[in-house]
Symmetry: C2
Subunit: 338 residues, 2 copies
């Protein structure tokens, strides 16, 4: 991976050489869809979903045998700025809860038979406080991206999620660095900070972006300096999924920070991704608008853990089941339009 | 059912004596929810769904063992006005397709393990052409409502759907009669009429409502005169579900015509119902706004068959799984807010 000795440049080259969708597979899906016993277009986005699966899997018969939710957990030095109402120990406690099957995402995966993989990343060594330093060195950030690339192995659909007390602050800093405006435009209440905590979050995001302002033209530097480990890992996971032909379902506010940075490297880099849901966390709706990704679900969720993406797996399964299982006008003896 | 000899009056009495939600069951759900390993409110509408299930089942431990999609099929004399691009034989052909397992709703039910019941209602004897006559006699309409009341037996969650070539025309007439405005406000393209067909639909709805205008103050008369059998049956099914303590998921444009008429009888008559999805059929979004029912899903579907309601079953299952299966802060050893 680090052939050039400049690890970000190797990733940059990968991003610019990503494979394209299979038009042949998409056309095969459309051809069968046109024969199914329903008015054309009447399944709406369910029809688009099957075409998307086929195009990015590169299969005329798309498969959904191993849908997998992948959750990355990280800790963040910026919690020292009082940006979360929960103590940072909760990150590790929640990872244990995932392993024991007690979190929301476990129940949602269980409902739809999706797999769940949880990766904890050096929880005992939080990233540095982004208001005072870069979160990670280049070597560390690149290694974390590479780690994320490995994490999607074996899936035929991957839903990306995260856990990390304080991580809506680096996510907000990534958006502010990418999109500008005011810091307050991108900061929400996360797990539920009060008014004073919200002011501290906004101030932390302002200070972080001001500190690193001379280096934020490069999306890789944005992730390294004001991001976090789960954001870097998700960046790598999205990239690897494209290379491995695995369609991606993005979760909410934090996951999309990684996606937004990747899209800033190459405008087509998210073409294999859909947005599972729109989060209730402040700016996520505007982020999805900028990414050009209308969400499948809009249910006021703001939990993270990949929960919104995991919930959309049921929709995707139903979409594929319709396309695979429905009778055609000819086979069912149903009259087509007169 | 027809003790008074005036069948609609007996139904009216039933509507005005419907049972209320169980506040105790809802409170029990909220009490457990507050202990689960997530920030308060972070599961958004999933939290509301469980409370709704408990309140209307009247159970502190809501159940979802027998979610059932119930589809009513009817034929319509108004197809003589050229309001659908499909021939009326398709209603019976699609019922056969449901029985063979080849329709979209079969695949969606299969995905989530929901039951499917299909009731065909005198398909060989279409209702009368509403532009020339009342669709049904009072006795026939009341018998159809009573038939719909029986259809929900055995379910612990019922999704209501319909099939009937031409039935978006009587549905539009019901809305126009209930809500006024212009006929064109309520008429959409249904299964896909062309511009000329759309003009014929609008004209048919205008003529039907004009013909019956002296009798449309009463929602029962609206269903009898300008509705259809599946609309009458769904009206009965919603009412029976309330009495039997079965929460209801409404499907799209046609199902909501029955719901809208029932709500016009009593403003609280739909409190046990949620909207599974918002249809791409023209006026459905405005109808849901008037009913005060924000949809769970918004996926551009416009198929009928109960397909949008059935698709939301996965969301409801996941919501209940979270509430039942998640660990509490205490049991998982996760720190609550500091």
């Amino acid at each position: 991976m680090t052939l050039s000795g400049r690890p970000f440049d190797d990733f940059r080259a990968l991003v610019h050489s990503m494979p394209e969708a299979s038009e042949a597979a998409a056309a095969a899906v459309r051809a069968r869809d046109a024969q199914l016993t329903k008015p054309p277009g009447s399944l709406g986005r369910l029809e688009e979903i099957v075409e998307w699966l086929a195009a990015w899997q590169g299969k005329e018969q798309p498969a959904l045998d191993r849908p997998t939710v992948v959750v990355f957990a990280g800790n963040h030095g910026v919690v020292a700025q009082g940006v979360s109402p929960y103590p940072p120990e909760v990150t590790r406690q929640m990872v244990a809860n995932f392993r024991e099957g007690g979190a929301a995402v476990n129940q949602i995966c269980g409902t739809f038979g999706a797999g769940l993989k949880v990766f904890e990343m050096a929880l005992d060594i939080p990233t540095k406080d982004i208001t005072q330093d870069a979160a990670m060195s280049e070597a560390e950030c690149a290694a974390t991206m590479a780690f994320g690339m490995e994490a999607i192995a074996g899936a035929d659909l991957v839903c990306l999620g995260e856990m990390g007390i304080g991580n809506t602050t680096p996510a907000a800093a990534v958006y502010f660095a990418l999109y500008g405006g005011k810091a307050a435009d991108w900061v929400g209440r996360g797990t539920g900070v009060d008014d004073e905590g919200l002011k501290r979050k906004i101030a932390a995001v302002e200070r972080a972006v001001a500190l690193h302002r001379d280096h934020l033209d490069d999306p890789f530097e944005i992730i390294r300096r004001v991001g976090g480990r789960e954001i870097a890992a998700i960046f790598g996971a999205i990239l690897a999924a494209r290379i491995e032909r695995v369609p991606v379902v993005l979760d909410g506010y934090v996951v999309c920070a990684a996606a937004a940075a990747l899209r800033a490297v190459d405008a087509s880099a998210l073409d294999h991704c859909i947005a599972g849901h729109v989060s209730a966390e402040g700016a996520h709706r505007e982020v999805l608008r900028r990414l050009g990704k209308p969400a499948l679900l809009d249910l006021g969720m703001r939990l993270g853990e990949g929960s919104g993406a995991a919930l959309s797996v049921g929709i995707i399964q139903a979409a594929l089941a319709c396309w695979k299982g429905m009778a055609t006008f000819a086979s069912a003896g149903v009259s087509d339009k007169g």
